[in-house]
Symmetry: C2
Subunit: 317 residues, 2 copies
Amino acid sequence: MRLSVVGAGAVGRSVAELANEYGHEVVALADSRSAAVADGDALDVAAVLSAKRETGRVGDLAPEAALDADYDVLVEATPTTLGDAEPGYGHVVEALARDRHVVLANKGPVAERYDEVRAHERESAGSVRFEATVGGAIPILSTIADLGPGQVTAARGVLNGTANFILTRMAAEGLDYEHVLAEAQDLGVAEADPSFDVEGTDAALKCVILANVLGDGGHTLDDAEVSGISDIPGEALDLAAEDGRTIRLIGEVAGDRVRVGPRLIPEHGTLAVSGTRNIVQLETNHAGRLNVSGRGAGGPETATAVLSDVGRLPPLE
Amino acid sequence: MRLSVVGAGAVGRSVAELANEYGHEVVALADSRSAAVADGDALDVAAVLSAKRETGRVGDLAPEAALDADYDVLVEATPTTLGDAEPGYGHVVEALARDRHVVLANKGPVAERYDEVRAHERESAGSVRFEATVGGAIPILSTIADLGPGQVTAARGVLNGTANFILTRMAAEGLDYEHVLAEAQDLGVAEADPSFDVEGTDAALKCVILANVLGDGGHTLDDAEVSGISDIPGEALDLAAEDGRTIRLIGEVAGDRVRVGPRLIPEHGTLAVSGTRNIVQLETNHAGRLNVSGRGAGGPETATAVLSDVGRLPPLE
């Protein structure tokens, strides 16, 4: 497949770097300020990324040039935005209008405007896939698709690595939230403004996407009940440990309800993954409980999910 | 899809019972002594299974009638046999020769004669799938297919629920092997002759299948280094626990090597699933380690894997 990669952060760059290994080629790459487009051939990804490191731009064209390129699959890897989910949503609509496939790493369009995305997909010869938006490398959406969404009665799990890293360190070292947050920021595990992760927004978006997949749409972030971890005192983790339990930021989808918040869980239980790992548990009608865990973030990890999605797309006419 | 289900043990019966819920119909069902075949219509599965409970036979026809029926997918769910893998292997070859799909729950053909099965598949309009043969409900083969087999550098895990149940109980209760085996037999978790499970053969067959998928064939049970759990004294588990560890029967596939044997692992680590649960860990090139766990056996659980496979098959011309 010929890929146009829009967004040149860690995920977009990794997709561009790994595409060849998966048998695909990159024909365009855009960051927020510029684009490089190959003229009927494959882009020299190493040269483009080297230029970006040196000049801060991937190329000399306007970013929109990547949307106009001759591609089979638009890889949408711009930052997740809330509400109207722009500019990602507009990119999705434009690619579908051109009867092209879309693979999303950006959560916004399928969390905030899922029903509209599916409506545009129905009118298009292209399809939309978004494995990378939930749990990074964890193949959870394809597992649900294979089981059949109607066979899954509930999903829950740890869906934010930053919050999980902080809770794991607080429990292991007896340190308080502020101390561990500063450490996580030093390590690059938490952003300078960590609110998106620690207040539960990121996990909630992933749960909303799961709810949309399981219930065929109808959910946005506004429907989710969300609380974060920034108010948890270190003593709460000590008390939990005395009782053989620990605290994790757990997202849950069951029926029409989407909730994210700190929960007491067994210290050595399946959900108590440590560090930045993610886990998703599915409850099924006939197959019991399935657990899938792995790296929930990271450029190459998330790019692997993107490229697996590309591999599942049917050829375009 | 129209299914002919050959084998009416727990898995074959569950496939027949659940097929409708997945949008498929059963046109034939055979046990070892007889067959029932619908005449251009769907079989009344409830009536056929009721007849089997009363008479011990699913129908009045010879078993071969199910192979001659007008089906799209042959579901091969006869017991696993070693060596020539008959009669399952012959059923696979016959279905492919008729340009029909095959979904296996029987491990024999893809463990012992993988290369021949693939050779017949290449000559056929039909495809062969076998998710149910490794880890029951755990979607491990589809996860490998989505990642790309070349992206997976190693696989290891707990692949036999009976052995895992015995080791879990020995560790938890401080009981010896003979005592727990008798208990497992009472509960129906272990067979009267448990050797297939406790000597590691079953786990080894699953590892051989994984090795064939990862390495594009070339493996049979003869290549596997296999040891079981029947010689493990209860004291070994006590000693392991004093050191924060436990013992599990672990199967490993890496490069050309397939090994199954008891291993010391961290007591609360990811691989230390309890009871009859199974887990598979995949090491990947770019996505780190993925873990998938769930029920590794059982009629409806394994039938779910079979029916997920059926759902992935392309329509026949």
